[in-house]
C-alpha cells in the first residue's frame, strides 16, 4: 500500500506494548491513539535512565547530579523548540498537559467587560470550559464558529464574529472528534488583523503533522505529551517570547521568581516565569526523547502514513452496512481519528464487542459534547490510528464491526 511508513515492521518493534496479548490470548489491536499514544522503548529507556542514574532536582541543586538533571531537562526544551520550529527555546513552557496550558492562557490573558473570545463548536472541552470560566470572571462574551454539515468550520460569518473587541481566537488544529484539519494560518491571520491573540490547540495535530509555529503565524500553541509518544504528566505551551513576558505569572512559587521579599516579588522571564515549583523532570525528558523519535522518522512521512491508513479505514468503515462516519469523508482533509455510528448498536456495546476481540477503540463523547450535539449524536465510537497502525488492524476492526452487527442481531 503506497504511503505507509516503509519500515512499519521495524517501527512496530519499537513499541513493546504492541506485542501484548489480551484476555483469551488475542493480540492487541490498538486503535485509540487519539486518546493516548503508545510509547516507544527509547522513551521508556530515557525515563528509566534519568531515574536510575541522574535523578536530582533541577536548577537548585549545586552538585553533579543536579547539573546532569538540569541539562537533560533543558535539553528536552531544546528538542521541543526544534519540534515546533520555535525561534527561541525561551518560548517553550512545560505544563502538566494541554489542558493546563490552555487554562494558563485563559487565566493570564487579561479580559474585561465588552471584550469577546471566539472559539469553535468543534473544540475539546478543555478549549471550551477554560474560556467559559475566563469570560464569566471578566464579564466578557464567548462566541464561536459553527460547523457545516460536512464537518468543517463555518467561516461565513467570520467577519462578524471576529471584530475589534475580540481579544482571543482559540481553535483546534485537528478535531479530536471529526478529524477535520482547520485552516490555522488563516484563522491566526484573522486574529492578528483585529489585534487579538490566536491560540492553537495542536493536541491532535502535533502527533501527525509537521508543526511550524512560525509558518502558522499564531501567538500561542499548546499540545500534550502523551499523544506524541511521550509520557503523561507533561504538556507544552509555546508562545511568542515577548507575549509570554507580558503575561502575568500563573502559579506562584519556587523557580518562577527573580527576587522575593515579604512584601513583593519580581518574576523571572519566560519560560521559568510559568514553571513554578519542581517540574515533571522525568516526564519532560521523556517528551524530549519522544519528539526526537518522531522527528527522526519524519512528520511528513508520519502524516502520509496516517492519511493512507485513514483513507483505507474510511473505505472499510463505509463497507459495513449501517455505519455513518462523522466529519469529512476525504482523508486528505482530516486527521487519523474517525468517529462513527453503527445503526442499532450503542457505542458502548460496539466497544465492548471489539474489546473482546482485542480491539481498543473509544466510545462516548470524546470530550466534545457540543460537536456531538451539533450533529444530533449523543455519543459515537472512535477509531484512531498512529504511526504503528497497519492495514491489517483496520481489517480486524471492520471484521469486528460485522461481528458486532450479528451479535446484536441488526444484520
Amino acid at each position: 500500500m503506497e504511503g505507509l511508513l516503509p519500515d512499519l515492521d521495524v517501527i512496530r518493534k519499537d513499541f513493546p506494548i504492541l506485542e501484548r496479548t489480551l484476555a483469551g490470548g488475542v493480540p492487541l489491536v490498538y486503535l485509540d491513539s487519539a486518546n493516548t499514544s503508545q510509547k516507544p522503548q527509547v522513551v521508556i529507556d530515557s525515563m528509566v535512565d534519568q531515574l536510575e542514574r541522574h535523578n536530582a532536582n533541577i536548577a537548585r541543586a549545586m552538585h553533579q547530579l543536579g547539573a546532569e538533571s538540569t541539562e537533560a531537562y533543558e535539553g528536552a526544551r531544546d528538542k521541543v523548540a526544534a519540534f515546533v520550529n520555535a525561534s527561541s527555546r525561551n518560548e517553550v513552557v512545560f505544563t502538566k498537559n494541554a489542558t493546563e496550558a490552555l487554562n494558563l492562557l485563559a487565566r493570564t490573558i487579561e479580559l474585561g467587560p465588552g471584550d469577546n473570545v471566539v472559539i469553535t463548536e468543534m473544540e475539546h472541552h478543555s478549549n471550551i470550559v477554560s474560556w467559559q470560566l475566563a469570560c464569566e470572571r471578566a464579564g466578557a462574551e464567548l462566541r464561536w464558529f459553527g460547523l457545516t454539515d460536512d464537518g468543517h468550520l463555518d467561516l461565513s460569518n467570520a467577519d462578524q464574529l471576529v471584530d475589534e473587541h475580540t481579544k482571543v481566537v482559540a481553535f483546534t488544529w485537528v478535531s479530536n472528534m471529526l478529524g477535520t484539519i482547520n485552516p490555522v494560518a488563516d484563522l491566526a491571520a484573522r486574529a492578528k488583523a483585529v489585534g487579538a491573540y490566536s491560540v492553537v490547540d495542536a493536541s491532535q495535530a502535533a502527533p501527525q503533522l509537521p508543526v511550524d509555529v512560525q509558518a502558522v503565524g499564531c501567538d500561542f500553541l499548546v499540545f500534550t505529551g502523551h499523544k506524541v509518544c511521550g509520557p503523561t504528566g507533561i504538556g507544552v505551551l509555546w508562545g511568542r517570547e515577548e507575549l509570554l513576558n507580558e503575561l502575568p505569572p500563573f502559579h506562584g512559587g519556587g523557580e518562577m521568581i527573580e527576587t522575593v521579599t515579604m512584601a513583593r516579588s519580581t518574576y523571572a522571564k519566560a519560560p521559568h516565569r510559568f514553571e513554578a515549583g519542581t517540574p515533571p523532570i522525568v516526564e519532560a525528558i521523556g517528551l524530549g526523547c519522544a519528539v526526537d523519535y518522531l522527528g527522526h522518522i519524519g512528520l511528513d512521512a508520519i502524516h502520509a502514513h496516517e492519511q493512507t491508513i485513514t483513507a483505507y479505514a474510511l473505505d472499510g468503515l463505509q463497507s459495513v452496512p449501517g455505519v455513518t462516519v462523522l466529519g469529512p469523508l476525504d482523508a486528505a482533509q482530516r486527521g487519523g481519528a474517525i468517529s462513527f455510528e453503527l445503526a442499532g448498536v450503542h457505542p458502548h456495546d460496539i466497544a465492548q464487542v471489539l474489546d473482546s476481540r482485542g480491539i481498543a477503540v473509544r466510545a462516548g463523547h470524546h470530550c466534545a459534547k457540543p460537536a456531538h450535539a451539533r450533529f444530533g449524536v449523543q455519543s459515537s465510537t472512535r477509531m484512531s490510528s498512529y504511526l504503528y497502525t497497519t492495514p491489517a488492524e483496520i481489517d480486524a476492526l471492520v471484521e469486528g464491526l460485522h461481528q458486532t452487527r450479528s451479535y446484536f442481531k441488526v444484520a
Binding site: H348, A363, F408
Partner: protein, 160 residues
C-alpha cells in the same frame, strides 16, 4: 471471545434492551430527576409516583426516558419491573441487593427471589467500566424517591 461477552450480554438483557418495559414519561409524579453518566454521556430522566399503602408509601409508578447502551437501557427496564407496586421499604431493599451485586466484582451470588430478571446483570459486575451503566437508572430512582418522600414530609405527607 464469546464466553465473556455472553456472560455480559445475557439474553434477558438483550430482550429488555429491544423491548424495554414501562418506558416513557408519565403523569402523575411527585419528583423527576435527570442523571447523567459524565464519562460516556448516557442520560436518564426518571419520574417517581408514590401512593399511600396499608404499611407506608408504595411505588405506584416509575416512568423514564433515556439514551444509552444496552446495559443501561435494560437495567432501567428491569428496575421498573422490580419496584413498581412494591412498598418503598421493600423496593429500597431490592435496590440495596442490586447495588451489592453490581459492586461485588463478580464475587456475589445473585438472589433470584429478590432480583428476578436482575440476576442477568451478575456478569456486568466483572466489567468495571459497565457497572456505572447498570446503576444509572437505579441511582436516579433512589434519588427521585428520596426527593418525593422528603417533599411529602415537608408538605405534611398529604400529597401522595
Amino acid at each position: 471471545m464469546s464466553t465473556d461477552l455472553d456472560a455480559l450480554y445475557q439474553e434477558i438483557i438483550l430482550d429488555h434492551y429491544k423491548n424495554p418495559h414501562h418506558k416513557g414519561l408519565r403523569d402523575p409524579f411527585e419528583s423527576e430527576v435527570h442523571h447523567v453518566n459524565p464519562t460516556c454521556g448516557d442520560e436518564v430522566t426518571l419520574r417517581v409516583h408514590l401512593a399511600d399503602g396499608p404499611r407506608g408509601p408504595v411505588v405506584q409508578d416509575v416512568s423514564y426516558d433515556s439514551v444509552g447502551c444496552s446495559i443501561s437501557q435494560a437495567s432501567a427496564s428491569v428496575l421498573t419491573d422490580l419496584v413498581i407496586g412494591k412498598p418503598v421499604d421493600e423496593a429500597m431493599t431490592i435496590h440495596q441487593t442490586f447495588l451489592e451485586l453490581m459492586q461485588g466484582k463478580g464475587q456475589v451470588e445473585p438472589d433470584e427471589d429478590v432480583l428476578e430478571d436482575g440476576i442477568a446483570f451478575a456478569g456486568v459486575a466483572k466489567f468495571p467500566a459497565r457497572v456505572k451503566c447498570a446503576l444509572l437508572s437505579w441511582m436516579a430512582w433512589k434519588d427521585a424517591t428520596a426527593q418525593a418522600q422528603s417533599d411529602s414530609a415537608t408538605t405534611g405527607g398529604d400529597t401522595a
